[in-house]
Symmetry: C2
Subunit: 203 residues, 2 copies
């Protein structure tokens, strides 16, 4: 049992690594098994298909990221400070990736979203759900700030979506230019998208 679940973990870790590096479509089960150092047959003991592994990888990644977003965005600080902490954390993840592998990994969800969107499959639906959840978390933080009279935002959900879109766009630049510094403007942009004077917020 110990060895078996160890192999399952290794397959999950191999999928996370490979899907973060190259196109999902270009990675086969044989390569994932080799990276995990398990026989190809073992792969199918744990996952019925590459898609099932991708779903598990996505779910585990979101489980971790969701906990981090909730921890940061429900903290007892101002919305401006909470968003700043979120972007510091986002940039830190990319800086660690550069230090570890030499490359900005970008956003696993965004990478997969652009690739699987042409297909109407369960992975695409799951990615839609995850982005909706990201927007939910930011929306809740904005609504809290409205109640606390920190900001006046007419359409909290639309503003939350604009902020998540800005994160995805800037992460794309960070990945293309292999430069986590591309994320440094996210806080200022988010303040502007919320209609907050960033100089007042920074003070």
């Amino acid at each position: 049992m110990g060895r078996r679940s160890d192999a399952g973990d290794r397959i999950l870790a191999a999928g996370t690594k490979l899907f973060g590096q190259r196109a999902y479509a270009a990675i086969g089960v044989a390569e994932i098994a080799a990276e995990a150092e398990v026989p190809k047959g073992s792969f199918y003991y744990f996952f019925p298909s590459k898609q099932a592994l991708a779903m598990a990888v996505v779910n585990r990644h979101w489980e971790h990221q969701r906990a981090e977003w909730l921890r940061i965005l429900t903290a007892p600080d101002s919305l401006a400070d909470r968003l700043r902490a979120l972007f510091v954390s986002t940039a830190e993840v990319q800086r660690q990736a550069v230090n570890g592998t030499g490359a900005v990994v970008g956003c696993l969800f965004g990478n997969l979203a652009l690739e699987v969107s042409a297909q109407d499959d369960p992975l695409r639906i799951r990615l839609q759900e995850i982005f909706e959840e990201q927007i939910d978390i930011v929306e809740d933080a904005i609504r809290g700030a409205i109640e606390a009279e920190e900001v006046t935002v007419a359409t909290p959900r639309e503003s939350a979506k604009s902020i998540v879109a800005q994160i995805e766009g800037m992460v794309l630049f960070a990945k293309l230019f292999n430069d986590p510094g591309q994320l440094d403007r996210l806080w200022q942009d988010s303040m502007r998208l919320l209609g907050v004077d960033e100089e007042a917020a920074a003070a």
Copy 2:
């Protein structure tokens, strides 16, 4: 000669279609040749490699899009009106794609950027150049608006980059949700990123 250049055009069109639909890494020369209805050997008469074709596809796409962006963003209108026209045009391209193929195609450059970023190849460098050019065009429009005293923007290049990032993020949503309506907020977001009161700009 007539037949030969016709075949070259067909290969270019096949590459444009296939790279817009699926992962670059998952598409082989044989499939491109089949889509173009030319023998596989003919492919290599026109393009030394799949990468060479991708470069030609990207360059032709940017040639067209660049002309469109310049036409719209150098028009003798206010910056607010020019940006509105740009986003109407962007959404129209995606709506035509939905009507034609049933799917939002997204941004060819963004799709490829997320896939090739892990590799240090000429395609990645070319995509960096194209995004820099997009930012240049928007920056020039902003600088013109500053001179015309339409807006006050402290860092025109950074604001231009924020707008291009917002386009990429919203196009990702349009693709993932297969819904060009996701682009409808781009104008309002851009006004906010420029620090312009959108109600005043809309009036």
